[in-house]
């Protein structure tokens, strides 16, 4: 039987740069193919080329045949009869692909009206049926809701419902779960796998995460630097990767990383002690005091925990759980409404008069490698800035000190003159770490430092942090939604949910025998390479 989709020698060029270089593959009817690679590997461009959804500057060569039709040679009119109707696509950020001023039900109905003969009542019924297919609870209410009223996972489901509206033969999914929390990601992946079975859908699933692909797909393409480096059955590729890059990709997956044994710490007086900290945004207005209430939104509700000297503490939770807010309160970026923070047994005032001295000991590294560095300051100056401003060493020693810091985080000295935009994400994250280390802190708080990085870089940055902790005897607080990262790095862990600490304890205990259902869901949602397909 002819394959549903056949791609031969696909090459896409944007001016001088080749985004996709000589890629060929087939997708059988009912098959599911994963395309895996790091950012910039050309996987998304490949996916978009299949629908000819590329800007006009792109030069596309090769051949794409969909069910006997030539795609690249087809007219725009012909393509529009395929797009949406026979080939549908879902994207990474449902929030930016749904019209904020249109009800969910109407957005799904729009496709039906355009591409089917259904009218009036029949459209409404079909919309509700589709929302039900993607397992949206309370479909009547959701159909009337606007996108902002739904959570990220629900929005992604609504987008999938819209994509399924015309019973397409092929669904293109471009990183559909990347922006979602792990638990939501798992449920969306399960949904996709289920739709494959029940709707007989063929699928191309683009992701940077091999674990996510393994849940949904039978076959996988591994791309690197615009080229196809490996293809095969997903099980075979994971068990027995042939190409050196695939081997590295799999070795970098948190599942396969050697579990780092954190140093044991003495149970003495804690270095950091947080007692009943409450953080609220807004509130305290005149109206609030008249009403005799506190008002505002409580982001953290009475959190208490302590950190031992030399310990690595993990704080995990889904987005909106308050973990980042809690971390920011430790360095004075947000004020605490109640409770106190003790550092070395005495009250610390991260927002108070002596903040400069306190912040020399406690440093925070941010999530987004590019955004945490001032875009017009070269990295040598960025790393030297704390030294200069706080006169931590004499001006003539600064260049040597900066060079030493750069070496500690494995940055080549010749990168010093570059601007952040001229570095890779991993390199920027190293600069941010070096800059924090320039203060010679005793506590390093890492806020989702690996989330924005590709898996191979994630592994490198984690190794760097482990090494620095050992060398400098740092106390670390890791904030992450990625439990695999936390398990690898931390002695003890705190689980947060909706502003509250729901579980805390030594890492091994929490992971092996969680007492809360919520913790168990989080652990089960960790993408695994060896998980059976859903």
């Amino acid at each position: 039987m002819n394959p549903l989709l056949s791609v031969r020698n696909l090459t896409v060029r944007f001016g001088e740069t080749t985004a996709v270089d000589d890629v060929s593959f087939d997708l059988p009817r009912g098959g599911a193919l994963g395309i895996v690679g790091e950012s910039g590997s050309g996987k998304s461009v490949t996916c978009r080329a299949l629908m000819k959804l590329l800007p006009s500057v792109a030069k596309i060569d090769g051949a794409i045949t969909f069910d006997g039709d030539d795609i690249l040679g087809a007219s725009e009119a012909k393509l529009n009869t395929l797009r949406g109707k026979r080939i549908a696509m879902i994207f990474q950020s449902p929030a930016s692909h749904l019209d904020p001023l249109m009800r969910i039900g109407d957005q799904v109905a729009e496709t039906l009206r355009k591409h089917t003969d259904l009218k009036g009542r029949a459209i409404q019924d079909e919309v509700l049926r589709l929302l039900d297919v993607v397992r949206i609870p309370d479909v009547q209410r959701c159909a009337r809701a606007y996108p902002h009223e739904l959570s990220g996972g629900m929005k992604q489901r609504a987008m999938i419902a819209g994509a399924l509206a015309c019973k397409p033969d092929l669904l293109l999914a471009d990183e559909p779960t990347t922006a979602l929390d792990a638990t939501v990601q798992k449920s969306v992946l399960d949904l996709l796998a289920e739709l494959r079975r029940t709707q007989g859908l063929s699928m191309i699933f683009v992701s940077h995460d091999l674990g996510a692909v393994a849940r949904v797909c039978d076959d996988v393409l591994v791309m690197r630097k615009s080229k196809l480096v490996e293809t095969g059955k997903i099980r075979d590729v994971i068990e027995n990767p042939q190409h050196e890059y695939t081997q590295m990709l799999i070795a970098s997956h948190p599942d396969r990383l050697r579990l780092h044994k954190p140093q044991d710490v003495a149970r003495a007086a804690p270095l950091f002690e947080v007692k009943g900290v409450q953080i609220r945004y807004g509130g305290g207005s005149i109206l609030d005091s008249l009403m005799g209430r506190e008002g505002g939104f409580v982001a953290v509700k009475g959190a208490s925990f302590s950190v031992q000297r030399g310990e690595a503490l993990g704080i995990v939770g889904e987005s909106g759980s308050g973990k980042t807010t809690l971390a920011r309160s430790l360095v004075g970026l947000v004020k605490t409404a109640k409770g106190e923070i003790l550092y070395e047994g005495s009250p610390a005032e991260p927002t108070g008069r002596n903040r400069a001295a306190y912040l020399r000991d406690v440093q925070l590294v941010y999530q987004h490698p590019y955004e945490a560095l001032s875009p017009r300051i070269c990295i040598r100056d960025a790393i030297g800035e704390p030294l200069r401003r706080h006169k931590l060493c004499s001006p003539k020693d600064i260049p040597a000190k900066v060079a030493d810091l750069m070496q500690q985080v494995d940055l080549a000295p010749e990168l010093g003159d570059r601007l952040p935009a001229q570095l890779s994400g991993g390199q920027c994250q190293r600069v941010a770490i070096a800059r924090a280390l320039a203060m010679d802190p005793r506590v390093l708080i890492a806020d989702e430092v690996t989330s924005a990085l590709d898996v191979t870089l994630q592994a490198q940055v984690m190794d760097l942090l482990i090494r620095l902790q050992k060398e400098r005897g740092l106390t670390m607080i890791f904030i992450s939604h990625d439990l695999a990262v936390i398990r690898r790095l931390c002695n003890s862990v705190i689980v947060m949910r909706q502003g509250e600490i729901v579980e805390a304890g030594p890492t091994a205990d929490v992971f092996d025998s969680p007492t809360q259902d919520y913790t168990r869901t989080l652990i089960d949602a960790i993408p695994r390479l060896d998980a059976a397909p859903a």
Partner: protein, 267 residues
């Protein structure tokens, strides 16, 4: 930084005007103020390139000398509004709260009035003259800069690199100068380029209305105004100063657009 061709064209045009202004005594074929009753309202010729006006002054020489005034007014006129606007806008945007509320209410008061009407009424109160035009510009021209700078500062204050600077214990004034200002500068500089054109244009308009540079000065607006009644018979009196104004405006506008492209940080 890669030069954008648009910037080069614009800068070239502006530089050309700069040279013309500096070398005016050498380039001018006649004394711009010399009245010659022998040669009234003469059409452009080899003797008078751009013709002469109703009192026989050489239009070409007057346009050349006019470049001095135009550049002087344009460049000097934007500096004070830019500095005031940046200071107010950045402070308001960065700190927020009541500082922001007060600054923005003042802006709200200034915004609904047409800019030129405000300038005109201030000049009318203070009396005609170029110095009073500058004062009027400083009083109302900062509003545009303040709104731009404030919008940039609001975005920047919640960026991670500004938060990082906070957590390194740097002071607010330092962060404002070192981390916020450089990144808020590019839209302001681009706006300034279009503003130069506007200020020249309004300066000329004031001259035209008799409230700016006083006649017999070789000022383009004054010249256009004087040529107005002869427009059907001696078009050259108003046409050439007008053309000069277009060319200087295009120069600054191209420079602004080119700068916008160059100041963007490409990844």
């Amino acid at each position: 930084m890669k030069m954008s061709p648009m910037f080069l064209w614009g800068a070239g045009l502006v530089a050309l005007w700069g040279v013309i202004a500096l070398a005016a005594p050498m380039l001018a074929t006649h004394d711009p103020y010399a009245i010659d009753f022998e040669a009234l309202l003469q059409a452009p010729s080899a003797q008078h390139f751009f013709g002469t006006d109703n009192v026989g002054r050489d239009t070409f020489s007057r346009v050349i000398y006019g470049a001095r005034l135009a550049l002087y007014i344009g460049i000097l006129g934007v500096i004070a509004p830019m500095l005031i606007g940046m200071a107010i806008g950045l402070t308001a945007g960065y700190f927020g709260g009541w500082v922001d509320s007060i600054a923005m209410r003042v802006v709200d008061v200034a915004v609904p009035f047409p800019f030129f009407v405000l300038v005109l009424s201030i000049v009318a109160v203070l009396g005609p003259g170029i110095e009073n035009y500058f004062i009027a510009l400083a009083l109302v021209g900062w509003v545009g800069y303040a709104r731009l700078a404030r919008a940039e500062a609001i975005v920047l204050r919640s960026s991670e690199f500004v938060m990082a600077a906070r957590t390194m214990g740097f002071s607010h004034p330092y962060i404002l100068f070192r981390h916020v200002l450089p990144n808020a500068l590019s839209p302001v500089v681009v706006y300034m380029m279009t503003d130069v054109t506007l200020v020249i244009l309004f300066g000329a308009a004031l001259g035209f209305l008799g409230m700016g540079v006083a006649p017999p000065a070789a000022e383009w607006g004054v010249m256009i105004s004087e040529g107005q009644i002869y427009i059907s018979t001696a078009w050259w009196i108003s046409f050439f100063p007008g053309l000069a104004m277009v060319l200087i405006g295009v120069g600054f506008a191209l420079m602004g657009d080119g700068l916008a492209k160059m100041l963007r940080i490409e990844r």
